[in-house]
């Protein structure tokens, strides 16, 4: 049997959409378990790329085409997946803070979290603190992830931490932040448990926060 899993991982890592969809089909036809295709093929590929990104060996275009390939593979695979095959790591609510329209980083974080097994609810841009709290409650989220590009809009982030607290969710829910002016020190100062420099680190940080919550 060809090494479908290695081909899939390599296809996702290199963003080869056609190879990924074709290999998913071949692997399914060969009787391979859908859960195995997902976790040891597609997810393994995106993880490999995430590591390359963190090591400075891959950049944003590579992330974008890799996620696109993974999504296409998932589309093919989805009808065959049973609930037990999808190991959801947790639920994340994402959005940019009120007054900030810059969503490229947020979109990348969303893509990487989804590709790594998180259920992500995207609230979009210019999201008020109360909307974050409401969506967190509605989706029973584990993590609120938000970003700001500007020093002016980063000042809104503490309001989100406060809104989550006021909604009585702070014990269960962790807040993770990022964006151009944001630092780990700022996160510590405002009581946000998580901070990530980039979209690949955001996955590691979400994993860490989920362990904290466990």
């Amino acid at each position: 049997m060809p090494d479908y899993l290695a081909t899939l991982a390599e296809g996702v890592r290199t963003g080869n959409e056609k190879l990924v969809t074709q290999t998913v089909e071949e692997a399914l036809n060969a009787g391979m378990a859908p859960g195995e295709i997902l976790n040891q093929g597609l997810v393994a590929g995106i993880r490999a790329l995430g590591q390359l990104f963190k090591d400075g060996q891959a950049y944003l275009p590579e992330i974008l085409i890799s996620v696109r390939a993974m999504r296409s593979g998932m589309e093919k695979l989805k009808p065959h997946l049973a609930a037990k095959d999808i190991q959801k790591k947790g639920t994340v609510v994402v959005g940019t803070v009120e007054g900030d329209m810059h969503d490229i980083g947020k979109n990348l974080v969303k893509m990487m979290l989804e590709s790594n097994g998180y259920d992500v609810h995207d609230l979009g841009v210019d999201v008020s603190a109360d909307s974050f709290a409401q969506a967190t409650r509605d989706t029973n989220a584990d993590i609120v992830a938000t970003s700001a590009l500007l020093t002016t809009t980063m000042t809104i982030i503490p309001d989100i931490v406060t809104a989550v607290e006021k909604a009585g969710l702070k014990k269960k829910v962790k807040v993770m932040i990022g964006g151009a002016p944001i630092t780990r020190q700022f996160a510590d100062e405002i009581g946000a448990e998580g901070y990530a420099d980039d979209c690949a680190s955001a996955v590691d940080e979400a994993d860490r926060l989920m362990k904290l919550a466990a």
């Binding site: 963003g15 950049y59 275009p61 020093t151 151009a180 002016p181």
Partner: protein
Amino acid sequence: MNTRERFLALMNFQEPDRNFVWEFGYWAGTVRRWYKEGLPRIKGLPDEIPEGSGLFAECAGVPLRRYTTYDVHDYFKMDPYLVRIPLNIGAYPPFEEKIIEEHGDWYIWQDWDGAIRKDIKDRSTLPTLVGGPVDNREDWERYKAERLRPSLQGRLPSNWPQLVAEYQKRDYPLGLGQMHGFFGTPRYLMGVENLLMKYYDDPEMMKDMNNYLADFWMALFDGVLKEVDVDAVFIWEDMCYKGGPLISPEMFREFILPGYRKLTSFLRDYGVRIVLMDSDGDVWKLLPLWIEGGVTVVYPFEVAAGMDVVEVRKAFPKLGITGGIDKRAVAQGKEAIDRELEAKVPFMLQHGGYIPSIDHMVSLDVSFENFKYYREKLKQILKRYSKTWDRD
């Protein structure tokens, strides 16, 4: 020395009489805050300028359809501006500026280059690019034919002959170029995410775009340079963020560097040797490639993105540098300002090729009092390292 002589001396690593009293720029909201805190409102800012608009100051030059603030310029007795020739090097005829979609307190609109932007309705923050008029080869061919014709027709103001006469007897530095570049302009055409994927999806179109833009700008500049002796050319890319470049150095080399080589070689033939690169973010990995492509000056070196002009100077002894003073330190107050200036400015002045300014537009959290203190402190340092000083 006059302003032009001083600029040429500084950017060519010769010894000037003194350094510049210049800044990069301010957000409009910052200047409105300063009016309330004591900045005399003489010329004011028109109400239609949104809070989130950048007001370009002396060392950045004022691009077409962008604004400046003469009240700050005059109050701090800044040196005359580095002037940009008002040549439109983007879409002509321009697109109609119009709202495409409205969503509560934000909306999506098309600007004059055809770029699709998402913006808050009160425009209190920066818009973000979400798309543009080009998605495929057919769009690109149409855009080229309709909007990027290599002709000066309609691209210069009607008083161009008078401007030429003025430029010929000027005592200030003069530059060509707007908010455009070999990465920056394709971003207007496609939006960021689409552009980043196009390098993989349609590499031939991206190479054609790079080559066409080089030829197009050379053709426009050629018409101007035949009439005016220009000191510098501006290139705008903003192609880095705090994690580094948006594309890999290898991708830059393959897709973008050829345009730089072509354009800067052409400029050198005209005697234009100063090429200024504007890019925010962590630019470390692209500096060697920009230099290889003929860039001679880079700004504004954002400290929050990890840039340190002292380290850049050590690594690139002959690269012109502007900026690099942490806006966050100026927001913090006197001690932070003292630390920031003393750690950087004396070293940079001693090594030459440096014009001090804050590392981007001065942000809304900088009080007028702090900014005054920063300018005064900077003036004292500049005085200390100048042969002469006439700016008290």
